[in-house]
Symmetry: C2
Subunit: 423 residues, 2 copies
Amino acid sequence: MLIEILCTGDEILTGKTVNTNYSHMASRLNEVSLKMHWGTIVGDSREDLREAFEQASKRADIVIVNGGLGPTVDDLSQEIAAEAAGVKLKLNQAWLDRMLAFYERRGRTMPPNNKKQALLPEGAEFIDNPIGTACGFAIDIGNARFFFTPGVPREMKRMLDEQIIPRLLEMSGVKKLTTLKRFHSFGIGESRADQMLNDIETDINKEFVKLGFQAHYPQLETKIVIQAEDKSETEEILQPIIETVRERYGNFIIAEDNATLEGSILAELARTNSTLATAEMYTSGAISARLNPPVGDPDPVLRSLVSRDLKELSRAVNLTLQEEAICFNTESAEKISTALRTEAASSYALATLLNIDRDKDGIEAGGDIIIGISTMGGSYCRKARILGGHEWVRLGAIELTLDVFRRHLMKLPIDERIDFEKR
Amino acid sequence: MLIEILCTGDEILTGKTVNTNYSHMASRLNEVSLKMHWGTIVGDSREDLREAFEQASKRADIVIVNGGLGPTVDDLSQEIAAEAAGVKLKLNQAWLDRMLAFYERRGRTMPPNNKKQALLPEGAEFIDNPIGTACGFAIDIGNARFFFTPGVPREMKRMLDEQIIPRLLEMSGVKKLTTLKRFHSFGIGESRADQMLNDIETDINKEFVKLGFQAHYPQLETKIVIQAEDKSETEEILQPIIETVRERYGNFIIAEDNATLEGSILAELARTNSTLATAEMYTSGAISARLNPPVGDPDPVLRSLVSRDLKELSRAVNLTLQEEAICFNTESAEKISTALRTEAASSYALATLLNIDRDKDGIEAGGDIIIGISTMGGSYCRKARILGGHEWVRLGAIELTLDVFRRHLMKLPIDERIDFEKR
């Protein structure tokens, strides 16, 4: 089944808006094993839309059109779709009523222009949009079935997942229920992860299990897509795979599905009613910035201190040591974290010391990281060296600090070697 | 002149990589008044590339192909280009020599695969790539001239600006020299900016002056594109426009061209050999994170303190006030900044207090911002209320703090009303 995406709109054509709708749609289709064949971008022009519709209708089985369903004169998708399908536009009274009610609930009158959004090509299949005024629709043009979706990202995403992908899966004859399982790990490189899991696809029911990786340094995302008849078959296939991945990745799994590393730290701090203070060097304060609960929620991070200067950091926690005694070593990291915990009266304190090599180009260039954790039960330390450019080292240091703290909270070893680390 | 962009590669087609190359190319062309007509995305497939080349050659005058110039088997651009143009591939010895020298300088041997990158269609025009091993080329296919560019963003960007746009401008008959002047402002909304400058396009030499806005909240970018015969004609047209914009925007211009708000603050601190400390509430430490000189450069920000809790912030600067005396008011902002300046022994200290409304949905929801500046000569204060969601208020508070500090350093009034502010 050949699938195309046709993105419309001058903002996309002229590059003013980056086309993240396209990449989202294509990724989601790919995740459920629907293969992309072609992408087209045209502006709000009748002639170009006509030509694009005609060409796509000859090339593809499925065409997903994005954009052009709005209320203004340059929104042309319904009009051109009707023309290309050789039918007239017809008012969809049910949708018009929904729009009127939508405005009424907000205490506003619907502008007359919006009525246009309820005009669909005759014979088109209505596709619901539960969160906006641009409904979707599907219609055959030439040999292809065209699906029309709104340009507003959250409306498009929901329509794609709830309405369009199920229809496409049914048309393509693949199994009915598609499930995506995601693992987020830190410390395992993509190629090693591939080696660790490469028997999964061949072992089990090959046809309906798909394994994929997406590296967002420093994290790695491992995606497993299962296609099955129903929930119980999904469980049956997925459960042993989940166990295998958990066993092989071990402590390197930082979160699963929509959970995050920082989210699990915040949850654990909330659960144990604990607080934290951080001191950071060369991280631009990103460690505390990541631990950022929604406004109104309790914030376990009492205070954060940021400085590139080690002596300044010690002074800021009122360390009364002689200045000469402060060096870039594990002792200083533990002393700073301990002093900070006392100053802030927090349950935990983290100190991340970072020393980035100045020589940027050498193959051996990188940075040294020392992480001190102070707790009521004593202080701990983790030292690491990461090779790479400044930003690479900085991002690695931020992630390593958060991960070491997660490991401490979860009572896991904090010293397991990560793949990015030089030992 | 109809221009198309054809993006190739499975990573782009399947959405794994967001197509920022497309948006960059289209924006740059738009900036120099070259109009985009069509965009196509295809994967690394011989058949699809052939079809895409053929269709584009019929539709367009100019086709810019991006990607597929690498050394691996799935890089097919040269091969399909030669086929489509009806010519053979031929070794470009000069480019092969350049590649060999490139590897030699790095003390490495060129992998044999890379030789492929020196095979160009016979009769193609060579287009230089001074920073990579994928050279570009141009060749006529059907009615269109095709330009081939590498997929690596920094190589593509340089080739586009230095090699391709000048050729396109010449072909399109527009004036030879295109100049882009940019102003970055904070505090003027896009629609008001448009009103303030809308006579510029009509007043002066309309045809060769193009005005555009791009809102990246909280900043606004104003772009002026001038096309002229040479440098002196450019000067002549541009100078009065620059003066007009500077006069009308006044103190709201935070930087011009490649300069930034944070860059001008860092430069001013360096020039006067001054230092800074910051205390921040609810900003995730973003104020100090923005003031982030390259590793190795002196860092004027001695320390930053971040906390959501006002009392915690006071304790962290060793304010010995009674806790009841610390409220969300201008006095506290001044006291905290003054105490912080003493603690850090810095020339300046900034304290940003932020109180975000908890009621998220109301039309009147927003946040209150109080900024305290402590200097050797005394302390100053700026208070503001910004309406909008949490992130909107947070971003506004960060920008307002940096701007107020810039204004103080430049001896400009810190209290001018910004458009986002409720007074």
